[in-house]
Symmetry: none
Subunit: 423 residues, 2 copies
Amino acid sequence: MESDLIRAEILAIGDELLIGQTINTNAAWLGEQLNAIGIRIGRSVVISDQRQEIVSALNEASGRAQIIIMTGGLGPTKDDITKHTLCEYFNTELQINEEALARITEFFSRRGLPMLETNRMQAALPASCEVIHNHRGTACGMWFERNGSIYISMPGVPFEMHGMMEDEVFPKLAQFFKRPVIRHRTVLTTGVGESFLADQLKEWEHMLEARNIALAYLPSPGQVKLRMSSYSEAGRDVQADFAECEQELHRLVGEHIYGYDKDTLQSVVGHMLRDDKATLSVAESCTGGTLSRFITSVPGSSDYFQGGVIAYQNEIKERILGVSPSLIETYHVMSEQVAIAMAHGARTAFHSTWAIATTGVAGPGGGTETHPVGQICIAVAGPNGAVAATLRLGKRRENNMDMAAQAGLNLLRKEILKQKADF
Amino acid sequence: MESDLIRAEILAIGDELLIGQTINTNAAWLGEQLNAIGIRIGRSVVISDQRQEIVSALNEASGRAQIIIMTGGLGPTKDDITKHTLCEYFNTELQINEEALARITEFFSRRGLPMLETNRMQAALPASCEVIHNHRGTACGMWFERNGSIYISMPGVPFEMHGMMEDEVFPKLAQFFKRPVIRHRTVLTTGVGESFLADQLKEWEHMLEARNIALAYLPSPGQVKLRMSSYSEAGRDVQADFAECEQELHRLVGEHIYGYDKDTLQSVVGHMLRDDKATLSVAESCTGGTLSRFITSVPGSSDYFQGGVIAYQNEIKERILGVSPSLIETYHVMSEQVAIAMAHGARTAFHSTWAIATTGVAGPGGGTETHPVGQICIAVAGPNGAVAATLRLGKRRENNMDMAAQAGLNLLRKEILKQKADF
């Protein structure tokens, strides 16, 4: 089925990518998104902000691909030359686009900022392109067609590019190329490794193959996503196929599954809390705010999140969370006992139904023989008491903070489920 | 000046990079490292694990570059075909390399793992290459020379690739090519837009040009980095050039400059606090833990960070931070007055020298006419009282949280500087 696929190539323009100052996350995001709508990335290229490089890369790509997506080089400054080079390449010239100018003017006036000539010039766009408007910034995108191929130029700022692709470009591409419909269903797991899952799911993969469903393991720190993809076939009920496969997957590894598709651990936990009219607070030591940030990244989380304490010193654990100094002395501040006391303390201070606590060594320094870097205790306190667990993670500080915060959310998820089962 | 430079190209091989499952951090790392030794990355390409793609990409790159570095496709599994393709490309064949075999055998015996035939075959390497040994894994690297160009093949696992490049490849390259040195200096600004900066720095750019220094504006949310690059010329003191240009830059936009090169706002503020033996706490409402996470992402931040309160409900602001209900009623909970009261409250609760507070509407919902989405108040309290500011940001929740946290850190930075100036 691959041969049917439209080939796209990505052309990222920017010296900052070549010298390693910026990592090209745009290419990965575009690869994932285009793949999901049945467009295959054949090649992904990074070049510098130089006219000759851009022209020769465009010439090469146009011989191989039906879709060429450029990112970067659309800023207001002198080193951004993509727009001028595209004018030359498509034999057209810049003209002020009135809608773009109106948007840019509004962008600055809304923020109470002065608008300069360089900003106004961002509304000057190649006459022969279709303008793709940017609701999140001032650099417009461009859509050119030539000999049945599509050339798209996007700003390099990921947040702006994502919005423009989702709002305008993906729908336009789907309309332009008649794509077979691909359906995806992603099952989200946490707390289990990729190779362990792959081993448990050998038989299950045969079940997918029989239904012409492709499977991808998508690992990220602390999680593995299982993406099932099905190309529509006449006479097949794809949703029924997915449902059957999911049911079997639940039988095999159900305890590790926390959600589907665009869910996150924090959104899933948020739904559970809201459904129960329950509330949550946190007491964070080594995660240093990460857990709170995860929870509050969900819009509307103030419905159930009361708040938390970042207790980065023993004295704060004692004074604000009421952890007894003798408990710390007896068990060490990085112990499950202290994590549990912190969770109880948060629950009391914030009058919440549930509380999560973390304590440990995030690293890279500060480890000892008994409490090495990456050893982190998490605890959850709730209506029926508290539970705790000890994680043994790696040496990378921010990774450890993220993994521990996720593990805390997952422990809460399991406790809420257990409470429901007990009823 | 660019023409003197050796041109390298990177060829990353792997479907997982094209479909966005893995982000190509190897290219960024190689770009940074090679640039530092005077080798310019002219292009960076990602292709799939297919013989034809590898051959055609090699052909194209060899017409442009003196150094071609391949990463990936050297694993023991069937889909890893780089080694076979290179045999074909360089018209040679695989033979067992005895030193590699001994290393692989030792690798498995040290870990008490069984060694399979697929592992043994990793010691089969092209007869015409120079083998680059891997002290951290089982896949060897390869070094080929043809017509004065170098072709290097490396495993894709970053940790293994880094070690092999540092131990063997960089020294060999430095010996093979006699390199001019490239020097970079990056000046970091915050709280000011790219176009505003560019407008202020028009004249200054001429000053750089006269010294043969290239300039790049590198924007990211809330920040703009100014990167100066200079290729060493006989008789020029590049450091003196940089110093002169930096001095003028400070005169023009000094208030927006917070650091250099690898600094971050949180690391700069951390250094200032440590130097002063001062401490910090936070009271976060709408940033929901983001500010704490930023501060604690710096290793060793427990030296100065006391902790904080995430006050996601009015009741918490009142009870734990001691904000008076009448103040909230009079000025609204999202006001500079309340932000200042929160900062004072955190300073008192945590006994810290300084405190930062945030309150506002992160969005996307919850805005009103008087308190729209993106309107966020930040405050800093310190030994000499408190200051506050109101930000007017966009509609995207997580972006607003990040920008407000950065603005809070920057406000603290300015207050610490002001305090020093007052002495």
